[in-house]
Every structure is written in structure tokens, then in C-alpha cells.
Symmetry: C2
Subunit: 190 residues, 2 copies
């Protein structure tokens, strides 16, 4: 792996673990096994390197979500597949956690990939809910965009609950609760 690659991967790791404010160039260099000069040769500075790292992480998250959401099955099954897919729950979401970083939110270039990823996910989930409604798999009373927001929020908030308690159990409980609420009732299958 090239030095530039190692620097980006090290930055992704540290951003996930410690956030933007908590990640120093020195720590990145050590994890990447690269010297200072090397880092500043490949990247303009910390924000530049972070941008490359965040973009890559955002793309990967999108691909992983798409893998769950684009499969076969009813709308409910695909939503359940997404919600129940394996996650490193206690590490949290590598994209969502950046929203709590004031320096990320303050920088439009850094915030953009975060915003776009979450926005894309909401849109994708909304269209699945819409499909479910049309096919009578989900209650027609549901507003797709609202339910999509609820789903993404439950996942993002589930990480908060898990990290607060030090156990993934709370994340799982939140997901179970949501799936129970989404579950089509006999009345909806008309």
C-alpha cells in the first residue's frame, strides 16, 4: 500500500475512533508509519487529509447500505435486513459521529459528504417505504420521508444508547422496537 493510501486509512481509523478534533497529524503519521514531510508532501494539511478520508468512508457506507437495501424481498424484509445487518455497534457510525464535531460542521467541504450520505440514505429508505405502501406491504397511512428519517435516526441514536451503556443491547432493543412498529398489521394488508 502506498504512503498516501496508508495516511488516508490511518486518518479514517482515527476519525472514527476519536473524531476530527481528537485526531492529530502526529497520531496519523505514527499509525500510518509515515514522517511529517511525507504527510505534508501528499496532503495540504489536516483538513485536506480528513476530507479524503471522510469521502472514502462515506462512499463505503453507501455501498454497504445499498447492499442491504437493493436485495430481493418485500419492503419490510429489506428494511429489516438493513436494520439487522451486522454492525460494530460500540464503535458507532463513522459518518454520523462526525456531526458532533464542531470543526466538521463548521467546514462546508467536510460536512458535505456527511450530509450527502445521510441524505441519500433517507431518500433510498423513503422509496422502499413508498414501494411497500403501493404493494400493500406497509400501512398506507405512513409518510415515506418521515418514516425514512425515523429509521435513520433510530440507527444513529441506537449507537448513542449502546455507547452510553457500554453494550450493544440497547441498539438491538431500539431496532426491535422499530421493527415491531413497522410490522404490517392485518388491517394494512387490504
Amino acid at each position: 500500500m502506498s504512503t498516501s493510501e496508508r495516511l488516508i486509512e490511518a486518518t479514517r481509523e482515527l476519525l472514527w475512533e476519536r473524531g476530527y478534533v481528537g485526531t492529530s497529524p502526529k497520531a496519523i503519521q505514527q499509525l500510518a508509519g509515515a514522517g511529517q514531510g511525507s504527510m505534508y508532501h501528499h496532503f495540504a494539511g489536516k483538513p485536506d487529509l480528513a476530507l479524503a478520508a471522510v469521502r472514502r468512508t462515506a462512499h463505503e457506507l453507501r455501498a454497504a447500505a445499498a447492499a442491504s437495501l437493493d436485495g430481493p424481498g418485500t419492503a419490510y424484509e429489506r428494511l429489516a435486513g438493513y436494520l439487522l445487518r451486522e454492525r460494530d455497534v460500540l464503535r458507532g457510525c463513522p459518518v454520523g459521529r462526525l456531526t458532533m464535531d464542531p470543526d466538521v460542521i463548521a467546514d462546508d467541504r467536510l460536512r458535505a459528504p456527511v450530509d450527502e450520505t445521510i441524505d441519500w440514505l433517507r431518500g433510498r429508505l423513503a422509496s422502499i417505504v413508498e414501494e411497500g405502501r403501493e404493494r400493500g406491504e406497509l400501512s398506507s397511512a405512513l409518510v415515506p420521508a418521515d418514516i425514512a428519517a425515523t429509521i435513520v435516526a433510530t440507527v444513529q441514536g441506537g449507537y448513542v444508547l449502546a455507547r452510553a451503556s457500554g453494550s450493544p443491547a440497547a441498539f438491538d432493543a431500539g431496532v426491535r422496537g422499530l421493527l415491531a412498529l413497522l410490522k404490517p398489521s392485518a388491517a394494512d394488508r387490504r
Copy 2:
């Protein structure tokens, strides 16, 4: 207000805004209008001061939540009251945001008030869901502890969505979606 009070209030403010890692003693002193010696006279150091600040914030959050949850009304109405109460959405949750701070999670003393607060909230919400089930106001198919986790997660995750997009709209959408899912259907009111 005493110097010690001003230091705690300044720390609460900065922890909310910038997190633990992003908050320096110097910034606290400036915001509090206190000198270094003054701060180290009243508190042992940054962790000690942060602990005092976090405990107070946790207590206040609990009191605010209780005010919504202990009122009159049906279970659904009280849950809706809690979910729809006024919030400084773009600032996020002063307690929940701490879970993304590695130094807070690593320190048991700092994590404890966070864990206890969220745990208390989950319990309080679960008992309201349970009441609603017993009175036939909510579907008896719901598992109170799971729904409670879903509610807290939706709120915590709603902050993430809002901050990602730079607008409170996404938070509101998530809450609307959840309320629609919770809404008792004719079939449940038997």
C-alpha cells in the same frame, strides 16, 4: 454567581458546544472570567470540573424530561408531549453528545452520569408504554423496553440528522414518523 459556579456553567456550555476533547481549561477560564489559579483552586483539573458540569447537566435533563412525562393525558399524549417539546435541535443533546467523546467513554466516572440519565429515561418511557398497553391506548403487541429504546434513539439520532443537514427539519420528520407508527389504530382500541 460565585467563581466556582461560573466555572461549572462555562464548562457545561463548552462541553455541549465542543465536547470534552475540544474543551480546554483556558477556554473555560476565559468564558468564566476566572484566572488559572482560581480554576485550580476550586477544581483538581479538567476531569474534575467536567464531572461537576456533566452531573449538573444530567440532572437538568432529567428534570426537563420528567416535566413532559409526568403530566396528565393518555400514554400517547405524554409520549407525544415529550417528543414534541421544544429543543435547541441544532445544538444536539448535551448528554448524548458525550457518548461520542472517547475520553468520556473511557472514564467510568464521567460516563456514569451519562449512562444513568439515559437509562432512567428509557425506564420512564417504558413504564408509560406499559401503562398505555394496560389501558388499551397502545397496541398490546409492543414490548415496552424496546419501544422506549426506539423513542430515545429516534430523538438522539434526530439530532444527528439535523446537524448533518444543518436544519432542524430532519429531526422533526423523524419524530413525526415515530408518532405515526405509535399512533393507536382502531384495531388496538379493543
